[in-house]
């Protein structure tokens, strides 16, 4: 592997981790689509800031772009507050227009802005190693790597310091307010972090794929764990995993790195969705199947117990007549009886079923419950 490749993987990993960390709180606050809004409007911020600073590397660019993210959120709130438009529609109105203005500016001044439409959508991860930061003649590495390291450090520091506040304002903002923990301030703080992270990520993977990094790994982690800190760490780990896997996928397919990372995010979520212990689709199906079997066994035990010791007992308990009495088809009868024998609930003698002591107990429990 060349050092350039290593650097690209490092940038992608830092970006994914940073996005996942702030994304956890967006997902839990049901504000996932705010990431959609912010990543789009950040483009306008970058373009406007470029007109002012005339530089693509100024740290001011980062701050100005992050500010537009916060402005977007405020604008959505402003439109919602007129009560003329609902919140979902407000989001759907505000960010496309900001993004559109950004795209128009980029297209009209393409030569001078040093951004093009491909960058907007895909980022420029593949070229990131060529743009390097030098301090006093020492090569510190690619600019994107330095930027994302700083962004990630800010995210980690903010989450560590304000963990308790973020958790409470997310879970129960009313309680937070009544305890004096200023949920609005915390929310705008979080939005600032999301914006800052989005600006960094925008350079690396483009606008729409930032959404994938902010939402999919946290949602996958949310299906895998029940503790907030574990969800958060897991989300970051899944994000990094997607970044590495996505890079190699892109290498093999010779396709867009950012697109491949997004595809991996989708795959990661799909895996969690299918296989999450206790909560995934498979676990759910297995649980339902088990419940069905348990229910059938109880039915069988109750049926046998009801007629046990009575004149009709033999007729009711004959294997070849059970189907007619319980209204089950042959296959089901065989399956259930086999399961019942395995669990020692019934014994078979000359085609007639008899309950064991354990079977009688099950029937009693099932009825009294």
């Amino acid at each position: 592997m060349t050092s350039g490749q290593l650097e690209i993987i490092a940038i992608a990993s830092l970006t994914s981790a940073a996005c996942a960390l702030v994304g956890v709180f967006l997902v839990l606050r049901r504000m996932s689509l705010v990431s959609d809004a912010i990543t789009h409007s950040v483009l306008l911020g970058i373009v406007l800031a470029f007109f002012v600073t005339q530089s693509t590397t100024s740290p001011l660019l980062l701050v100005a772009a992050a500010l537009t993210g916060v402005v977007t959120v405020a604008l959505v709130e402003l439109v919602t507050r007129t009560r003329l438009v609902r919140e979902d529609a407000a989001i759907g109105l505000v960010f496309p227009v900001l993004f559109s203005i950004g795209v128009i500016l980029v297209s009209r001044y393409a030569g001078s802005v040093h951004l093009d439409i491909d960058t907007v959508l895909l980022g420029e991860l593949a070229f990131a190693p060529f743009d390097r930061v030098h301090v006093g003649g020492v090569d510190l590495g690619p600019a994107a790597l330095v930027t994302m390291a700083v962004v990630l450090a800010v995210d980690v520091a903010a989450l560590t310091l304000f963990w308790k506040e973020l958790k409470l304002t997310t879970f129960d903002p009313a309680l937070a307010l009544s305890l004096g923990l200023a949920p609005t301030a915390v929310t705008y703080g979080l939005m600032s972090l999301v914006s800052l992270t989005a600006v960094g990520a925008f350079n690396a993977v483009g606008s729409i794929l930032t959404v994938a990094l902010m939402v999919a790994p946290p949602a996958a982690a949310y299906l895998l764990s029940d503790r907030l800190w574990r969800v958060t760490l897991l989300a970051a780990a899944i994000g990094v995993g997607c970044a590495v896997a996505g890079y190699w996928l892109a290498f093999v397919l010779d396709a867009s790195i950012a697109g491949c990372i997004a595809a991996c995010c989708g795959a990661a979520f799909a895996l969690a969705w299918a296989f999450a212990p206790g909560r995934g689709i498979l676990a759910g199906a297995r649980r339902r199947a088990r419940q069905r079997v348990d229910f059938a066994l109880a039915m069988l035990a109750i049926h046998l117990a009801t007629h046990e010791g009575r004149p009709e007992a033999e007729e009711e308990s004959r294997l070849d007549r059970l189907g007619a009495h319980l209204r089950w088809d042959e296959g089901r009868i065989a399956h259930v009886v086999a399961a019942a024998q395995r669990r020692g609930l019934v014994v078979e003698q000359a085609g007639v079923l008899a309950l064991t002591e354990r079977g009688r107990r099950l029937a009693r429990q099932a009825i009294t419950f």
């Binding site: 009560r83 310091l161 506040e165 409470l168 009313a174 309680l175 009544s178 004096g180 503790r227």
Partner: protein, 247 residues
Amino acid sequence: MTTAALEVTDLTVAYGDKPVLWDVDVEVPVGTLTAIVGPNGAGKTTLLRSILGLVKPAAGQALVLGRPYREQRRLVAYVPQRGSVDWDFPTDVRDVVLMGRYGRIGWVRRPGRRDREAADEALRQLGIEHLASRQISQLSGGQQQRVFLARALVQEAELYLMDEPFQGVDATTELAIVELLRALREHGKTIVCVHHDLQTVAEYFDRVVLLNVRTVAAGTVEEVFTEENLRLAYGGRSAAFGRRNGP
């Protein structure tokens, strides 16, 4: 005259142009159990929320033990309706109870040993210590309510504001909650509950505030529950508005 635990004066709240609460006065003596009752849309929840500053009133103020609520936040615990939070949130019971301490702990600092002890003690008091590390989505309605009450207990408040604590809980939990409220009262605490079951008011509470946008009546249960007052409160909005026909 001693200071009231809660004194609300001239409280007016409007959503847009519609008054939800209009010129409401409420006075709650220390060491009492007070129910706020009234028909749907009477503004019961809004009353609690505006006392807590969750809703901005157009006019009026709330004094807690003689001083504005903002200065007395520490002394007030709020138990919201269960539906107000997302029970799928990834956390366990002990952690939710600990959240009650966050105001006391202050910004940035972490919960310490004493906070955890307080949480464990509250869990014991509500008989849910065995649920301490259970994920909150796996609780029954009654258990969720007990968690919220435990969370209020660790706030070590003087005044407890509760929004329908008996809503949708099983009979055992309802009894347990009543016992707890009485125990709190024995310790000189004051409890104000939004309540909707008129049948149990006399049994559970000392005092009642009958609300329908305005304060219809307030006082002991016998004083308040007259036919005239109930007709005023439940006989429709216009009755409570007197001269006006409502918005």
